[in-house]
């Protein structure tokens, strides 16, 4: 399990580097998808299987739209991938930074720091993440209303910002 986690975490760091190294939007979106997928794997490994399912479905659903818009808006005949020198330079720079960070914090993390959720409790019937969802609906009613209001507000904001631009308003 530790090796799988290690692989996933390394994949996550590499994915973040692949986004941050400023390639063409196609490949940046692809890197973001990679990070999200691998992050869901990490969450699942630490006992958040429901959370990772929600994240995968909803976040990647949003990412799909972003990806489609990126592909539609920023279509380039010769996109810059990670092999280009301009991108590869920053990839190497970020890798160097990561290695610096790793050597600085070496030994600070150990496998005991990765205890999955609920592992230290003696016995629990409900997984922590599904229990958290139940708690959110039972105790956090007001907050849910506020969150729904924020979503409505965001919709109105976006509509108001983009309304009538095509006809020169």
């Amino acid at each position: 399990m530790a090796y799988i986690m290690l692989t996933l975490l390394i994949g996550m760091v590499l994915g973040v580097i692949s986004v941050a190294s400023n390639p063409s939007p196609y490949f940046a979106a692809l890197g973001l998808v990679l990070v999200a997928g691998v992050g869901c794997g990490v969450l699942m490994g630490h006992g958040g299987s429901f959370l990772s399912l929600v994240l995968f479905l909803i976040y990647l659903g949003g990412m799909l739209v972003v990806f489609a818009y990126c592909a539609a808006l920023a279509a380039e005949p010769y996109p810059e991938a990670w092999g280009e020198w301009s991108v590869l330079g920053s990839v190497l720079g970020y890798l160097l930074l990561v290695f610096g960070g790793v050597s600085w914090f070496w030994g600070g993390w150990y496998e005991g720091a990765w205890v999955p959720v609920d592992e230290l409790i003696e016995f629990s019937v409900v997984a922590a993440d599904s229990g958290g969802v139940a708690l959110m609906y039972s105790l956090g009613g007001g907050l849910l209303v506020v969150s729904a209001w924020v979503l409505l507000l965001t919709l109105l904001v976006v509509l108001e910002l983009t309304r009538g631009l095509a006809r020169g308003a």
Binding site: L143, V146, W149, V150, L153, L156, V157, L161, L165
Partner: protein
Amino acid sequence: MNPFVLSILLLSLGLGTTLTFASSHWLLAWMGLEISTLAIIPLMAQHHHPRAVEATTKYFITQAAAAALILFASTTNAWITGQWDINFNLHAFPASLLTMALALKMGLAPVHFWLPEVLQGLDLTTGLILSTWQKLAPFILMCQIMPVNSSLITFLGIASTLVGGWGGLNQTQLRKILAYSSIAHLGWMVLVMQFNQQLALLALVIYIPMTFSTFMIFKTNSSTTMNTLAASWAKTPALTAITPLVLLSLGGLPPLSGFMPKWMILQELTKQDIPLTASVAALSALFSLYFYLRISYAMTLTISPNNLNATTPWRLQTTSSTLPLAISTTISAMLLPLAPATLALLSP
């Protein structure tokens, strides 16, 4: 803008600040800040000329960065201490992060660069909302986290008063001057916040009617540069005569109400035995006083010649409501005798 959408946006602006005021939990405070940022964005971009859109984009990016930093700091705090409470003692590291994030949100000095640029792109009413109402929520949060790294807070305060004075010196654009004036005033508030929050609140409470009057006077004259103020005497003679009082009150001259917070703050700083900080703050107020005086000079203390037709607009009745401006100019000029009552009103 559609009045229904406008009312929803204004209500959400109120909701965001109220949520931040009422919350004792960092997540809810962050939600309130985000709601008020989101709600003001269509108001800022409502005229849709490139300057306004640029200002809106700058504002959105800075506020989103500051909000992300707040979220990160409060999560770190919850991770370290196991607490989400605002009033619970913060760990030192997230406390410093939060201070910087709130400083970025309010536009305090080392991270103030967005404020003049954003304010310059907006119309005066939205600029007024931005420099008064939008400061309230981060200000209250900053008051609540207050016993934090003292040297950081003092640095923010002194830098803000200095930069607020310095930056405004050579400006001819009124909105930029107002932005720098806002930075300087917030510097005074932050400077005293760690010793006496009542005085910081007093400075804010006095600053709001003063800056309201200034924005409204400029709006009545529909002027955004100093040149156009020269024609003010022909439009609204009475207001032109009162304007120096408001401006010098912003500068903090004695018989006007703007003197009250500066006086109390200097007294508090002296009581805390940091005379050097107090002196630097007092001297930096001179920079601000210089540009307030320059506006007064351009507007009132000289009467620029004009042709005969242009000297008559004052005979026409103004269509906008004058009562709020009358009340706020009176407050910003004549509140000093009520200083004990004002202080007592704000004491906890």
